[in-house]
Amino acid sequence: MPEKTMRDAINEALHQAMEQDESVFVIGEDVAGCSGSAGDVGAVGGVFGVTEGIYHRWPDRCIDTPISESAIVGAAAGAALVGMRPVAEIMFADFIGVCMDQIVNQMAKFRYMFGGKSRCPAVIRFSSGGGFSAAGQHSQAMYQVMTSFPGLKVVVPSNAYDAKGLMLSAIQDDDPVLFFEPKILYQETADVPDETYTIPFGEANFVREGDDVTVVAFGQMVPKAAAVIDALAEEGISCDLIDPRTTSPLDENAILESVEATGRLVIVDEAPPRCGLTADIAGLAADKAFSSLKAPIKQVSAPHSPTPFSPELEAAYLPDADKITAAIKATLA
């Protein structure tokens, strides 16, 4: 199987979806690039290169916009409401702050408020998360916030293989989907088939299997947790590592079954802790698997603080191998 970066895997999914379905189109800031300039329109393909080459194949369906996030998301929602399958790019997940109304009050709620009579098959893509010294307004995960809104499906891939299959599922899905691409993983590679394939939403991936501790991790924390678990295996500690892949819908059964078997739970996410996914999963386990627990649940997250700029501060801010290791060992103490 060919190795591809996560960036290329998502790009391939977009190309294949565009080939298969004429109602799919891409819209956002610089998704083509160079519009109106002396240069070659389409030369950019998104600031992270995820929409590369799409304009040159389908100039009518790869649409550069002004810097107007509310209008971009609203236009995607509106086009979807009348039967198109837009894939909108919001360059950084943090810019949800600019277009929150169109996401949470509009597209998320159409179907419910309209009595089940509408469909809004829009996908909004975001680069997300920390690790670039990009400071408070260009580093947030944001998926944990959006998971709390009923009506939205929320996807967080942790590797190139999943990213492609999840993107193809997202585009086929008839509900609005928010697709968060941990930007620190864009250049990470995995074996990715050339053919199309889908990965169903709400089906967790068991990245590692073990008996002692259940570890649930999201996005860029999945490879970090996997490395920790591999190191702990040499000390004789064996862990399940569960990557939910979609936070809404959430594969509750996979998590609960694992916790029932191991009796220990560590949850790892890069976002701050309050009202986040670590608390969400801890609550789930406390509610539905309490009698299986042999130790207190451990949450590993960023602190309740914005993302700092300085590399030393950001390194201390994001969960790292030491913190994940300590949490796993604490459940075994």
Partner: protein
């Protein structure tokens, strides 16, 4: 309009400081010394300086992601800024903000801003405070040709008119927003007219000419200060670098950058004007250049030696009181 010699000296020094600061930052990014996302202001120096020469410390500015020039022009300390860009805990923002968030509230610098068009509404708030306090202060926001297409910018402009607040909207057209031309992203062909349609006057200037910007900004700021409501400045001048360091700049026309550097340089233009009018001598200007070079060199030396932040500092300054326990 004649400008006092002191002001001329200050304006030239400030433009030169911005130029050398940015060129050095560019080099330090290439050396891997400055982390994060950095956007350089080189070429646009006359805009910031032409505007800020009319302001004192208690007038406010709010800046953009391309903020170094605005901050220096409004009096931010160069060495504190350099330390901030290097991520030192001795930086202006203790290494918490970096390039996109340089701020110095005491100097009326309400911050660079990583959100395009995040600034104008905040600036209207500062202008409103000046109106309520009747203190004759103005609030200036800087926006790019891309930023003006954001709803927040429209809302701020309209509300400033409704409130008759002394807000000054400085629009810097450098022809591109990231990789997209203004010809595409601004739907009408007259951005000045579109802005004036909100209901305030907009004064136009060649952004390569300090004297033109100074004159246009002087009119706009006087209008706002006098209690006539908001006003605008529209200055055109290209940036010399890419959108960010490393941008391949596929959108440029052949020879565009060479032409900009050669024929549209605010520093060269300033010197040419001084040679004509004899207001400042070449020796005076050369001396400023040398002093600025030394100051920038020193700021980098200091930044490299400055204290690094420690892990405990991550959760400091989230609130004034209340430290979260997580």
């Amino acid at each position: 309009m004649s400008i006092a010699k002191e002001t001329l000296l200050h304006a030239y020094r400030t433009m030169r400081t911005i130029r050398e600061f940015e060129e050095r930052v560019n080099a330090e990014i290439m050396n891997g010394q400055i982390p994060g996302f950095t956007h350089l202001y080189t070429g646009q120096e006359a805009n910031a300086v032409g505007v800020c020469t009319h302001l004192d410390e208690s007038d406010t500015i709010i800046s953009t992601h391309r903020g170094h020039g605005h901050c220096i022009a409004k009096g931010a300390e160069v060495s504190g800024m350099m330390k901030e860009l290097f991520g030192s805990s001795e930086g202006l923002c203790k290494g918490k903000g970096g390039s996109m968030h340089v701020a110095d509230i005491d100097k009326g610098i309400l911050g660079a801003n990583g959100i395009v068009a995040g600034g104008p509404p905040i600036s209207v708030g500062s202008a409103l405070a000046a109106k309520i306090r009747k203190n004759g202060k103005v609030a200036v926001s800087f926006s790019g040709d891309g930023s003006v297409n954001q709803g927040t910018c429209f809302e701020a402009m309209n509300m400033a008119v409704v409130l008759q607040a002394p807000a000054v909207f400085v629009i810097e057209n450098n022809y591109y927003s990231e990789h997209t031309s203004i010809n595409y992203a601004v739907g009408c062909d007259d951005l000045k007219a579109r802005t004036e349609a909100f209901g305030f006057p907009v004064f136009v200037a060649d952004g390569a000419d300090f004297f033109a910007v100074h004159e246009a900004a002087g009119k706009a700021i006087a209008h706002a200060r006098a209690g006539n409501g908001p006003a605008g400045v529209f200055a055109e001048q290209g940036r010399y670098h890419g959108h960010f360091v490393g941008d391949p700049q596929a959108y440029r026309a052949e020879g565009e950058l060479e032409d900009l550097r050669e024929n549209h340089c605010p520093l060269k233009n300033f010197r040419a004007r001084m040679a004509e009018t004899d207001e400042l001598s070449e020796a005076e200007l050369d001396a400023i250049d040398a002093e600025v070079m030394a100051e920038i060199e020193q700021s980098v030396t200091d930044a490299k030696a400055a204290a690094r932040p420690t892990a405990e500092q991550v959760t400091e300054d989230v609130y004034i009181q209340y430290t979260a326990t997580a």
